[in-house]
């Protein structure tokens, strides 16, 4: 299964980005064969509105079934839900540590938006 992590880098030791819609990018990790791909999300940063929705579209295109991030606003939450993508939150500093926690089943699922839109 593919899991998307919000990050400001392109490697597993890169820091997690706590923002979902306006994350610099994603690392989409495939747990079946332990490979990953870095996805640039920076074009979304130029949009005044709808970042969470566009980020969701990007994740759906990558085929990810869940996302690990810091926080998630109302529009992003609605879009992710509609797309059937499970949302996990973490305060892990790096993608590798977040991945570790994901594998250990230690991450909390987010059942409602936990921040307002444009929170950061």
């Amino acid at each position: 299964m593919k899991v998307a992590f919000t990050t400001s880098g392109t490697t597993l030791d890169a820091p997690m980005d706590p923002r979902f819609g306006r994350a610099q990018g994603f690392i989409v990790y495939d747990t079946e064969n332990d490979t990953f791909e870095a996805v640039d999300n920076r074009q979304v940063l130029n949009s005044a509105h709808g970042a969470g929705i566009q980020a969701t579209e990007a994740i759906v295109r990558q085929g990810a079934k869940c996302v690990v991030t810091g926080h998630c606003g109302p529009n992003a939450h609605r879009a992710l839900n509609a797309a059937g993508i499970r949302i996990y939150t973490t305060e892990a500093p790096t993608v590798a540590e977040a991945l570790e926690a994901y594998r250990a089943g230690a991450l909390a699922t987010l059942n409602a938006a936990d921040v307002d839109g444009h929170w950061s």
Binding site: S47, H49, G50, I53, Q54, T56, N75, R78, A79, A82
Partner: protein
């Protein structure tokens, strides 16, 4: 004639110029407050309210029994106001610009439009000035449709003054488009000059004749004047940094009513606008 009063920088005196210009024209004049996020011309023109109308924009409503989740609507919408993940699409009303494109591309006719309220247009008679103002609802980000609703009440038989929002983005363009002349109000400071340059670029793109009013003369430096000279932009009026103007403003009074010498300054401004408009302006 339609005269828009705009600026790049906020707080340069657009409303002061607009209301005093309207008073100088005297009768048969409309004043359109297009700064719909914070209309304030009414503070200077108390009068009798003559109407208030709700303005809506069309937003999509999906009939789930007809939708097959093809996603055409989401692919069309550049604002991501409607998206489909292989199922009935989600609508994000606050992102919708009301273009109606999704209803047109839906192959199954599953989308119809409903009105979403964005604000009101209020009209008021204030001593022979007909004030029309838009008031955007709190939480609504979409000013241009409301500005267009304000402008739909333009009466071409009358002279109209359009008080624009600050900046150079969509709400300003929605305001000044179609004007016969634009008055750019600035102040002689580095900030004033910086934003004046942006505003000049915008107005030139729209090919509307324009000129500059320099407010608060005496503060700052001469760079705005040098810029206008180099760019051959007419300076229509210079308003001194005069405490009496601030005092009248703070009481919600018109400078031309309170300080007699300014009546002739604003008459000069009006004369200059007519002259430069006929000459094609800058």
């Amino acid at each position: 004639m339609i005269i828009s009063v705009a600026s790049g920088k906020g707080g340069t005196g657009k409303t002061t110029v607009s209301v005093n210009l309207a008073r100088t024209i005297g009768s048969g004049v409309q004043l359109l407050d297009c700064d719909v996020e914070e209309p304030n011309a009414h503070l200077f023109l108390r009068g009798r309210e003559t109407g208030s109308e709700i303005v809506t924009i069309p937003i999509p409503e999906v009939d789930e029994s007809l939708c097959d989740g093809c996603g055409e609507c989401g692919r069309l919408c550049r604002y991501h106001a409607i998206v489909s993940f292989g199922s009935v699409p989600l609508v994000f009303p606050e992102l919708c610009h009301g273009c109606g494109g999704c209803t047109l591309v839906c192959p199954r006719g599953a989308i119809r439009e409903t009105g979403k309220r964005i604000g009101v247009v209020e009209t008021c008679d204030a001593n022979s000035i007909s004030l029309i103002q838009g008031r955007l609802d709190i939480g609504v980000a979409m000013a241009p449709p409301l500005i267009r609703a304000v402008k739909a009440r333009l009466n071409r038989e009358m002279t109209a003054i359009l008080d624009a929002p600050p900046g150079t983005s969509c709400p300003v363009i929605a305001t000044v488009r179609g004007s016969d002349f634009v008055v750019l109000v600035t102040e002689p400071t580095p900030f004033g000059l910086h934003d004046l340059r942006l505003a000049v670029d915008m107005i030139r793109e729209l090919s509307i004749p324009f000129g500059v009013v320099v407010n608060r003369m005496g503060v700052g430096d001469d760079r705005v004047h040098r810029f206008c000279r180099e760019e051959e932009i007419p300076i229509l009026l210079e308003i001194p940094d005069d405490r009496r103007i601030a005092e009248a403003y703070s009481r919600g009074e018109l400078v031309v009513d309170r300080v007699p010498e300014y009546a002739s300054h604003f008459a000069t401004l009006l004369w200059n606008i007519r002259e430069f408009r006929n000459a094609g302006g800058a």
